[in-house]
């Protein structure tokens, strides 16, 4: 047992910190700290800064432009990003599609698409959920029918995050209705400019346009845009879920958020004393603080035990459940801190909006109830 970082790891931390001090635009950091929404160009600017340093797709293999960092280094990197209120990496290209292409894509696909993820030529979005296929994702119905050198795609995807910015979408589509429903799914890359695609905004409960519905009507997709083998898409989709779990518990972001919570609670008075000194509120904060400290260790235990950062599905599920519960609790406490000021639509520092927006954490990426199914299957072995 050794819970300390080596001198080399501490030196790496200093290197990351120095990089952020010099390169993180203060405008972006302030937006993140105060839970403001980033624009498309904000994201692109930050991706370009990271890419220039070779840190945009840090977890990719070195030959494709990754870093070869250890699990500890990846953890330290996330930790420093969060501490500096740096934006996260928009996951769809670097963290989701990239690893799938690297593992299952053709040489031509890797050569063409991977550099475009890194240099920002493409903004990817994810076409997974459908109106009738949420937690039960394998029930998806969007069809792709082979017609010569093309697939003809028809159907509807929904909850497509930041799809309004995207020029490309990776989709799970049904290429067969025979056998188990998981066995007829393929993984398809689709150009959003293709005729027959319509993107409609969905406004969320915080009043924001973050997600979209995407309609496909006789959309022609070249067959070379299929990843891997036809009808094996479910395997690739599942791989994507186990890959790169360093961030799933969100501990670094929660640590930064708890610090912000303490700051705003300090400024609010109850019975003439700062909320941080109010026995009830201090206890509520201490509960989540302790839970988070435990989670920091649980997270590292799981990641290091898995060796290569690909945690067993059920352990990743535990991190997801508790990690999102902690993150949500911090936003709940922040909302409580505001008192009556939580009510105006533009509540200070976007706190109420973020509380509302973060209800999504326990729903997306496999709802926390689906995660419990995954864990109980593994625990009960039945």
């Amino acid at each position: 047992m050794d819970l300390t970082f080596t001198p080399a790891e501490e030196a790496f931390r200093a290197e990351v910190r120095a990089f952020l001090e010099q390169n993180l635009p203060s405008v972006l950091a302030e937006k993140i700290r105060t839970a403001q929404r980033l624009s498309k160009s904000d994201h692109e600017q930050w991706h370009a800064i990271l890419n220039q340093r070779g840190w945009l797709a840090a977890h990719w293999p070195v030959e494709h432009g990754g870093t070869g960092w250890s699990i500890e280094q990846s953890y330290i990197f996330e930790d420093e990003l969060s501490r500096a209120h740096a934006p996260g990496v928009v996951a769809f290209g670097p963290s989701m599609l990239g690893p799938v292409l690297i593992k299952y894509g053709s040489e031509a696909q890797k050569r063409y698409w991977l550099p475009r993820i890194l240099d920002g030529s493409d903004w990817w979005c994810q076409g997974y959920s459908e109106p009738g296929a949420g937690s039960d994702l394998a029930s998806l119905k969007t069809s792709a029918v082979r017609d010569g050198d093309h697939y003809i795609v028809n159907g509807q995807k929904t909850w497509t995050t930041l799809g309004q910015h995207a020029n490309m979408i990776f989709c799970l589509v049904r290429t067969s209705t025979e056998g188990r429903k998981q066995e007829g799914i393929s993984f398809l890359l689709i150009d959003m400019q293709t005729p027959g695609i319509e993107v409609r905004p969905i406004i969320l409960l915080d009043g924001e346009h973050e997600v979209n519905e995407i309609f496909f009507t006789n959309v022609k997709v070249p067959v070379e845009n299929i990843v891997g083998t036809e009808n094996k898409g479910w395997t690739y989709a599942k791989y994507l879920l186990t890959y790169e779990r360093t961030g799933i518990a969100g501990v670094s972001r929660s640590i930064a958020a708890l610090k912000e919570l303490r700051r705003i609670a300090q400024a609010q008075l109850r019975n003439g004393k700062p909320l941080t000194e109010d026995p009830l509120f201090a206890a509520r904060m201490a509960r989540v603080d302790i839970d988070l400290r435990n989670m920091v260790t649980t997270n590292l235990r799981v990641l290091l035990a898995s060796g290569d950062g690909a945690a067993p599905l059920e352990m990743g599920a535990m991190l997801k459940i508790r990690g999102t519960e902690i993150r949500q609790e911090i936003t709940r406490l922040a909302r409580i801190v505001l008192g009556p000021q939580a009510q105006p639509f533009f509540a200070p520092e976007g706190i109420t909006a973020q509380y509302l927006n973060y209800r999504k954490l326990s729903i997306f990426g496999g709802s926390n109830e689906v995660q419990r199914e995954i864990i109980s299957k593994s625990l009960l072995e039945m």
Partner: protein, 365 residues
């Protein structure tokens, strides 16, 4: 960074685990626990021969361990087998002798298993606050005597000596060694809810040896060690609760299918499993912090005791619930594990005590 035990510690854990599996089955445990003595000198000596007591002390004190993770591997196994022998009191009193640099002869007897010690900081009014001390020490003609009451001391009757905190007046306190069986030190023993025996100590001008006249820093350190030990014992206990409940969910049939097929129960056991993993992490954090700077150590220790208090209650109550009627029975080992998980919450500070303490530590550090 590394979350596996050293080879030596893992070997100790494995050896001790096998020893307990053979020598300390649940039937043996019940017989010992229900006996008039409430512990077994024979088993105690057997465990001492294995080197288990020596693992709790560093080399300077005649042992070969004494670090947080040494306590961890020993107490996790004690929890797994519901051992009632006087480990906690012996650890805490032994650490008091070691840290005060007194009575190395007695410490040597403890490590070989010849004797057992008890530790008495709790008083009828103190409610987990080791600084709340009404027992008074008096110095007369070169000898110390103590008067007052100490309560709910684990395995007090088994001990040859007890380490006692006592007020020296004016905000200062001392730690003393009291030999039991001498005039002025009356022991009243009773059965404990979770097995074994405890006792109250009434001191009336009992003669005592001064270990230190600056007790509070030492009490804090010793209590920290005790909490690390209890946290790992709780982890051992909770792992058994989880395993037994999973076995039951797989095998017990109702409505024609194993009850583990019901989603309501599946989600309950998952919640328990997550609590236990968080508790294990808290216990790791506390063990790692034990030898570190005071502020970080005390925060980690209070965080751990809060966490195992909370998780222990959840694991105990949920395991009983998921077992249904049979979970209520004395006969099933499960109920005894559940009681131990709950009662650990009542030793050295409960969930609320340590949550408040964590708040005040965070405010000062």
């Amino acid at each position: 960074m590394n979350f596996t035990h050293s080879e030596d510690r893992q070997m100790l854990a494995d050896t001790f685990g096998r020893h307990l599996d053979q020598q300390y089955t649940i039937d043996v445990r019940h017989r010992i626990s229900g006996s008039p003595e409430g512990w077994s000198r024979e088993r105690w000596l057997g465990m001492a021969d294995l080197g288990i007591i020596g693992a709790l002390f560093d080399e300077r004190s005649g042992g070969y361990g004494g670090s947080g993770f040494d306590l961890a591997v020993v107490f996790e196994q004690l929890g797994r087998s519901l051992v009632v022998e006087p480990f906690l009191g012996s650890l805490m009193a032994g650490q008091a002798l070691a840290k005060a640099g007194c009575r190395s002869d007695l410490l040597a007897q403890l490590i070989t298993g010849e004797t057992t010690l008890a530790f008495a900081s709790e008083e009828p009014q103190s409610r987990y606050d080791f600084a709340s001390i009404t027992t008074r020490a008096q110095h007369d003609h070169g000898t110390w005597t103590l008067s007052g009451r100490k309560s709910v001391i684990p395995q007090l009757e088994a001990a040859s000596h007890v380490v006692v905190s006592a007020s020296l007046g004016k905000e200062s306190a001392g730690l003393f060694l009291v030999e039991l069986g001498k005039p002025g030190a009356a022991v009243s023993g009773y059965k404990m809810v979770d097995g074994g025996r405890g006792g109250d100590l009434t001191l009336d001008r009992a003669s005592a040896t001064l270990l230190t006249d600056n007790a509070l820093p030492l009490l804090e350190e010793i209590t920290a060690a005790g909490i690390v030990a209890l946290s790992w014992e709780a982890v051992g206990v909770m792992d058994v609760l989880k395993k037994s409940t999973l076995d039951y969910l797989r095998t017990r049939k109702q409505f024609g299918i194993p009850i583990g097929k019901f989603q309501a129960l599946q989600h309950r056991i998952v919640n328990v499993a997550i609590e236990i993993e968080q508790a294990r992490s808290a216990a790791i954090n506390a063990a790692a912090a034990l030898a570190g700077p005071r502020a970080a150590r005390e925060r980690a220790v209070s965080a751990a005791k809060y966490t195992v208090g909370r998780a222990g209650t959840i694991a105990a109550e949920e395991s009983i619930q998921m077992h249904g009627g049979i979970g209520m029975s004395w006969e099933l080992p499960l109920s005894h594990y559940a009681k131990r998980a709950l009662m650990i919450g009542h030793q050295l500070g409960d969930e609320d005590h340590h949550l408040l303490r964590f708040v005040s530590l965070a405010a000062t550090g």
